[in-house]
Symmetry: C2
Subunit: 240 residues, 2 copies
DNA sequence: TGGACGGTTCGGTGAGGAGCGAACGGTCCG
DNA sequence: CGGACCGTTCGCTCCTCACCGAACCGTCCA
């Protein structure tokens, strides 16, 4: 009788059932911490209104907060929260990319390469997984797993795949891309790869959006290691 | 600017942000079609109220309907809808099983073995995946995929794993179990296995709940093929 | 051709909650 | 210390929406 009625489900869903709160969570999908004021401006509401929303989101376990001086920093509570937001944002079929006017620049940058909480998405993320699969580092023929060669490649980057464990996030997870309709790599491995790319300076964050940019060094490294044509990938959308 | 604001997210979330609608979707997680009246009684609202809710859920793409004579049959629109409901129902950590009074019988049956839309869950579902992994039919060490031996075993059951394709559901997906905190098999493979088990008479649905029961023939078959101790699995919860 | 039944449509009621402005309490800086 | 600044609390308005009863329309059965 406990979880059989819809009460608990409704409480969680209600957190995201408001346009303002959903927009806040969407902005936080970049994985970083924003201040309350930034979120209020972004959502287009008064600070007082934002406070109320943020309180509810924190109380509901969707957001985590860190108070520092006169600032209140907010971020998504964890990978589960991020996945929930991402899942909801891509239901049912997120309206065909609609290449109307090449997007408003910002949107074009997002479709090219962005972070999805803590892993890479967009054409870059999808291209990465496709390249790994094409090079025999990843195998999707009977599920989704790294091959022995893929594990060695990860090790070369200093990444060790954690063993699957009860309460932990899955080491490997495929995440259906929001703009492309193909999967990119998520889970612990996706997060580790993204962190490694950022640390190595292959990829860097742009303004204050989720968009990221591949550096010249990153282009060379990805071409070397995966045969990935980054400029061709991020410039124009493929015919499909 | 289109999907960047939270409007679309909020619209979908609002569908499940009501206790009654969430309860309806939860009931439909058994994968079958219910009539409008059954759903109204289950949710404890007047038929008029149910009609309004069902209209909204259908319009929102979460439910599909079939009108037949004076009946209106409703089911979840598809695997994506089911996954959304399941994801929401298990956030953040679905309250420890709380073995208070061995559950109300109905609940005990659910934790032992149930369907999760179109695949098997509960201790049976979790045990199945664990057994497949233990027997070398499935490999979770570097992701989640069937081994060659596993593919052969599936073929022996008349199941061929579909190739991953753009718009389709993933062939293999791990679904974190609601009661257990370990994964069970979902995706096209999970659905195929569940359908096969039902067709073979190894597993049968019970009353009108999501709970299922393993038949004697099923116990023998699962013990033979996977070394699975079904009675031990479904009788008492493990110490954990 | 009645009557039972499943489902819908239509007003009306009530509660929840999203929004704001204004006043207040902190922190940082000149 | 006084002023700018970030965030919160409070009181209020307004609108959405969940719910019901009653009347209605269709299907199925005797």
């Amino acid at each position: 009788m406990t979880a059989m009625d819809g009460r608990e489900i409704a409480e969680v869903a209600a957190l995201l059932a408001d346009r303002t709160r959903a927009g806040i969570c969407l902005a936080l999908l970049d994985g970083r911490a924003w201040t309350a004021g930034e979120l209020a401006r972004l959502a287009g509401v008064a600070p007082a209104t934002a406070t109320e929303h943020l309180n509810r989101l924190v109380a509901g376990g969707l957001l985590a907060e860190v108070r520092q001086g006169r600032h209140r920093y907010l971020r998504l509570a964890g990978p589960r929260a991020a996945q929930l937001v991402e899942d909801l944002s891509s239901y049912p079929a997120p309206a065909p990319p609609a290449p109307s006017l090449r997007g408003s620049g910002a949107r074009a940058a997002l479709t090219a390469a962005r972070t999805c909480y803590d892993h890479l998405a967009g054409r870059l993320g999808v291209g990465l997984l496709a390249a790994m699969t094409g090079r025999g580092l990843f195998d999707q023929s009977a599920g989704a797993a790294f091959t022995p060669a893929g594990l060695a490649w990860l090790a070369g980057l200093g990444i060790e795949l954690p063993a699957p464990e009860a309460g932990r996030r899955p080491p490997v997870r495929l995440c259906l891309d929001w703009t492309e309709r193909r999967p990119h790599l998520a889970g612990a491995a996706g997060a580790a790869l993204c962190a490694r790319f950022l640390a190595a300076g292959w990829v860097e964050r742009t303004t204050r959006q989720r968009a990221v940019r591949v550096t010249p060094a990153g282009e060379r490294a990805l071409a070397d290691q995966l045969g990935l044509d980054v400029p061709g990938l991020t410039a124009l959308p493929p015919t499909g």
